[in-house]
Structures are given as structure tokens and as C-alpha cells.
Amino acid sequence: MHGVNHMTIPIRKFDTLVIGAGGGGLRAALQLAQADANVAVVSKVFPTRSHTVAAQGGMNAALANVLPDNWHWHMYDTVKGGDFLGDQDAIEYMCHAAPRLVVELEHIGVPFSRLDNGKIYQRPFGGQSQNFGGAQAARTCAAADRTGHAILHALYQQNIRAKTHFFDEYFAIDLIKDDEGYILGALVLEIETGEPLIIQAKTTLIATGGAGQLFRTNTNARINTGDGMAMALRAGIPVQDMEFFQFHPTGIAGKGMLISEAVRGEGGYLVNGNGERFMERYAPNAKDLASRDVVSRAVATEIHEGRGCGVNKDHILLKVDHLGSEVIRKRLPGIRDMVMTFLNIDPIDAPIPIFPTAHYTMGGIPTNRFGQVVVPQQQGAEEPVPGLYAVGECACVSVHGANRLGGNSLLDIVVFGRAAGNHIIEYLKENRYSRVASQCSIDAAVAHLARWDQRGSPMGSGASSETVDGLRNELKAIMDHYCGVFRTEDVLRAGLDKMLKIEQRLQNVYLRDHSKVFNTARIEAFELENLVELALATVASALARRESRGAHMRMDHPQRDDVKWLKHSLFFKGGMLDYKPVRMKPLTVEGFSPKPRVY
């Protein structure tokens, strides 16, 4: 083994290690720090640069400040929006807790926008209804268009005040455990110095966010490489429901940034390479304003069948120029700024090239509603892994089921961040003494760390031309093409083949730069490994699920199949798939049974 001798790796000890400083991690850390637990938070970027800052739309809670509302209606919408794959106990818990969490956030300084009467303003969002599927509801609370930013900054300030210990720009590599399977922290790397550190803790919470970087066209920040999910996989924990990835129909082609539905709301429409307004064929009534999954599928189908636009026929055009300069300037100024900045075209003169863009990871590390990571064991399908918790986009609790509703994710991260914090406090009371990490678990993590210290051209194989950048680009293109919106048995099978080859080729990648200080190439190599694990999980889960539900659309199995497929999938490292039942029984109310999802 090169360079790293684990006897010399320093160890720091805490009650809790939180991996990730987005809204989920910081909400949990705050709960713990306020209860006087000794908490460490590691983040690969400075905490307030976590992806939570990107959330502009807002956070759902049935406050009924604008229109009548109650948490039970919110629960119904969430169950239905998730195409009945969500766990109804967790959904009840979340929707019931929502109003209280908004008030809490307000108390710690989140400046929610207000109505004239002083109450918190709420805007209507897609998928929200009154009275179990009736008229539109208005449930989304927002701090202007900076809700995520406001939440993240408030939580960070509070954590500083509560003396949470931050390890900024530290990269988590792998979990560490003892012989009985208790998770006891992680091996991390200080990015600045390149030095490893073992953070040993009685409890560990993974809050590393989503994995949008699996796809070439995505809306996510580049940090979203799903590291925590891959760490869980390597620790023997499955990932759940990975086939469910939400695509937004109108991302800027080749770049991924979101062009909001507002453009189509104002009269913009989509055309294919023949200049045809094709949505009329797919959704004669709603046309371009049909729901996200319907429009995404139509766009993908047009491109797949050779009717795309451009030299490579690889995108569709969103036409807005017919609306006229005045309307565009007045009603869509933000979109115009964005298109002019990123495409160097003015939508007043020219149509916008678009492609469905990967937006949200519904799947993740399986947890219960206390944030405990749960896995199938002899005793049952959901046995807690002692000492390990997960919250936020990296977790699958599962409140979003097969499809997340806008505004429910910020809610998810604060509700379950807080719940996990509370559960950890109880756990710490019962587990006062530190356990001893097993040598073999530390050795495995250290060996993984040393992988990227290896030099090129291993025995006889000659120099390899594979690079991290090259392989990552291929992986993302494969995911776009073979595991995007347009899924069939053949397409997915080909995708799985290609991903298995990528996994093999990863063995031939060596770094040129072996310096220690700020070696970001090394960090990106670890991220690529994580993406490879998750890409395999996503394609394999999608190939196995022969039905269409929520965001998972199989052209060859277009119907939802509740008889065979009303169950969560679990993918294990190595490729094994298992399934477990959906929790259809809420905590206090009656469950909602599956019915067709029509809007």
C-alpha cells in the first residue's frame, strides 16, 4: 500500500458525525448541538455553498394562510403525487409536522414572504389540491425566490452559535464500523492538505444530497455526486428505489439548467425538427402544459424517433419569440436573463433548445421515519443499522415515492433532519460508551483511500489512456441515453452492459497528479467511483421494474402494476436486487389505497 499507513492517521472523537452541511445535515446538527451533544459536521464545500441554496421555489406546509388547507390534504397529494409508492407513515409524519417546522425556521431567522395581514404568504404549486383532489391549494411558503439560501444561512448561523464543530472542505471516503456492525464514523480527507483523518463517533448521519451528476443533462450543482449513497453501498447497505429519478422537461440542451414551466404558462410551445407542434399529438387538451412526466416523455420520444432539432437532431425547440418582445421582457425577465447568459441568444429573436433534465433523486439510503438506516435482516425487512442515520435527498424515507412534488424536498430535509437529531439524542443516552472500530473496516477504508495513489501502467498492461474526465463524460452520456426518460427492456439492457464496461475500465484509470495539497483531481476520482456505483444501481433497478410508475416510464410496460410492483426495490453492491413492501398504513388516519393518477 502506498503512502498511507493507518497507524499514523489521526483520530478525532465526537458523539455524532454529520456528513453533509445542506439543510438536512444542518437541521440535525442543530438539534443535537442544542442538546449539548458533541457534533462534527464535515462538508466537501463550504457549508453555505451546499446545493440547498439552489432551491428557489419554496417549502410546503398546510398553514391555510391563503386558501383553506390541512395536513391531511397535503398528505393525500403527496401519496398520490408519489404514485402510491411513498411510505404513508412517514408521509403523515412529515405533513403533520410541516406547519410547526415553518414556524421554527421563522424563529431562527428565515424571512418568509408575508401577506398584507402579516401572515406567511403561500403560493400555489403543481400537484397541490384542497379536499383530496379538489380545487388548487396554495401551500408553498417562500422567502422571496431565495428560500433555500435563507434556510441554509439561518441554520448555519444557529449551528455556529450552538458550537457545532465544522470540518469545512473535508471529503468523506468511507464509513467505519465495529465487528458487530455498529457504524462508528468515517475516514475523511482534508482537501487542502490531502491528509486523512478518522472521525470516530457513536452515531453517524449521512446527509450528502442527491446524485444529479449521474446524467449529462441535469439541474444539479457539480457537487451532487451521491457520495453518501455510494458509501452506504460499500458498507453493505442497499440503496432503495434508485430507478425513480425526476426529470424536468425543459432544461437548456447540453447544459441542463431549468427553464421554468412559466414559459409554457405564458404561451411558449415546443416544436420538433419538422417544425411541428408535437405536444398536440401527445396531450390534445393540455398540450404543452401537460404534467412534467408527460411532456418529458413526449420530448424524449420525438428525439428518439429521429425528429429532434439541430445537426445532431438531439434537442427540441421551445418557441417563445411569437409572444413578442414586450410580453417576454415583462413576464419572463428571469428566463430571458438566463437564456442570454448561457446560450448567448435572445429568446425574443430565437427559440430555446431544450432537453429533459435530471432534477431530483427520489431513491437513496433506506430509512424509517426516525432517520435510522434500515436494512433487511433475518428479523425483518427494516432492521436498523446501529449508529447509522440518513436524511435529505441522499435518503429514501420514503416520502416522495415514485415522484416528488415541488416544495416537498425542503420540507423533507428539515422535518427528518430534526427527527433524526431527536432519535440520536435518545440513542446517545443509551449508548454512552465508545465502541472500538474493527481493524478490518479501517483497513478497507484506508485501502480505498490508497487506490488513487497508485501509479499508472501496472504490470504488463502498458499505459492506459483512460482518464477520470473521459470516463465520467461517457458515464453521463450513457445515463442520458440509456436510462433517461425513454426506457425499454432493450435500451436498459444495453445501458447496463455499457455501465458494467465502464466499471471495469475504471480499474485502468490512474491519476497523473499525486501531489497532496488541494489535489482536486483525486477528489474527482473518488466522486467518479461513487457515480459508477450509483449508475449501476439506477440502471439495474430500472431494468428490473417492468411497469411505469411516477418518474419511471417504461415504454414497453406503460401501465402501473400494483399487483406485482407496489413495492420498494433494494439494490446491493454487486448487483443483487431485493424488494420490500410499501408502508401503506399511516400513523393515525386511514391509508390511501392506489387509484389511477389523473390530474
Binding site: V45, E169, G256, F342, F518
Partner: protein, 80 residues
Amino acid sequence: MLDRPRLYWQCRRGMLELDILLQGFLDTKFDALAVAEQHAFVELLDYPDAILLEYMLGRMIPTDPRIANVVTQIRTPVES
């Protein structure tokens, strides 16, 4: 202070829009800047993401002319 790999990591932000513009600028134009402009870029990276986005989309203009200048350069599209 102007250590490249560190700057590269500082350009990793919470929003894709910022990643693309800041990393793109670092890769293609940063080296050609005057030293004072390079320092202004480093200072710019300390701003919160939400403010950076406003600057980058041209919705807000920094009051400090040095920062405003570097923002203008980032916003000027690269010929491709």
C-alpha cells in the same frame, strides 16, 4: 494566495449556473487577467451563492467597480 487548485475548488458552488460560469471562466480567461483583476475574482468567490447568481445573470451590479469589472468579463460569452 492565487493557488490554482484551491481556486478551482472555490468555484464549486451550490448551483449549476455558478459552476458553469465560474469554472468556465477560471479555465479559459483567468490566466490572461491582470494581477489586480485576478485578486478581484478571488474576492468575488467569497460572496454568497444567491448574490453571485444575481450578478451573473445581470440582475444586480456590484458596487465595487473592481468586482463589477470582473463580473462583466465573466458574463461576456466565450466565442466557440
